[in-house]
Homo-oligomer: 207 residues x 2
């Protein structure tokens, strides 16, 4: 399998194809066409074929893709063929909802640590809220893979620094501020209003 940096939008689509494949497996299906994947994900069949072509030939022309095989290949590519331990910092409204977001566990992301500066000791599922000052110590014990930052913007950089110092190599940042991290740390900034702005763009187009 070719391992090179491919466009993020492709990764996002692969991630959505993989959901559709899971559902097809649940329905007892064995084979799916690129058109089938396309219909179920709202992408064009050409785009599906183009995305999958990044990784070599998974399908058989005129027959389609073996669902189990394709799913397993995509999992290897997007790294969901294993579990990842996630630490989250910030348990406000959004943070609290992320901790219990059912989609994470289903995709192999295990909430393994939750941190804040208040409500220490509160219980979320099996986890207790820990003070952010204990992050590094707990990270040593637990071994977090990924960090999620949902703290107010003025604290986001110092939380990122703590995560990086504790060995975390990938951070999802919901705070509306660009964070400074070493080059070997992947960071993905998410602002939920961006999604509304994509819609307002389409609405404005029509006016």
């Amino acid at each position: 399998m070719k391992k090179s940096k491919i466009p993020e939008v492709t990764i996002m689509r692969l991630s959505s194809y993989s959901r559709v494949l899971n559902e097809a497996l649940d329905r007892g299906e064995k084979i799916i066409s690129s058109k089938g994947i396309a219909t179920l994900t709202g992408v064009s069949p050409d785009q599906v074929r183009k995305d999958l072509a990044y990784f070599g030939e998974f399908g058989v022309r005129g027959i389609g893709y073996n669902i189990e095989g394709l799913k397993s290949n995509i999992s290897k590519i997007i790294g969901t063929n294993r579990n990842w331990k996630v630490a989250i910092a910030g348990l406000g409204h959004l943070g609290g909802s992320l901790v219990s977001y059912p989609g994470f566990l289903r995709r192999g992301f295990i909430m393994a640590g939750i941190f804040d500066v208040k409500n220490i000791g509160d219980k979320y599922g099996e986890l207790y809220v820990e003070h952010i000052d204990n992050f590094e110590k707990i990270a040593k014990e637990v071994g977090f893979d990924l960090g999620i930052i949902v703290v107010p913007r003025e604290f986001a950089q110092s939380v990122a620094d703590i995560m990086v110092k504790s060995g975390i190599k990938a951070i999802l940042n919901f705070a509306p501020v660009m964070l400074d991290v070493p080059e070997n740390v992947e960071i993905k900034n998410i602002d939920l209003s961006m999604f509304l702005e994509m819609l307002s763009y389409y609405m404005a187009l029509k006016m």
Copy 2:
């Protein structure tokens, strides 16, 4: 201004440039270079120039962009030069956090209706939870522009149908299911685990 369908990733980046421009204005700055925008958003200067070129020439070579002018142009493009009324259906953990998401209002998205099948009458800010069965009636009074669906997947299609019937032309769907809507309705599906999967992809690349 050319109004054609441009890639969604470009729209997302424009939306992030626009944040940076707001911040620069707040700091009292007047001019910014594409390199400046690039540094503040984590995008390459070439990409910034390429994205802005979709819409014509906003900058002056060797000088940069007039921040106020560029901001206003981007706002027109992404449709944030006006306010949009948002209706949200589903007030579970994630829905509840979206209702009070501070970024929405800041970007011109006004929460104008919140709907569920339980906890009717509960207050969120200035709004009371209304029963989803009253959606169409309330939509007629309020005039919602955008809908957000955060209900369990088994109810998502019927909520989408209600929104479409009530005249909503753009829907942000957080339920993990593809929704069937008429072609003139824009729909954007968001699964938060996709963002973690982009990170796990990078982590897997390094192994």
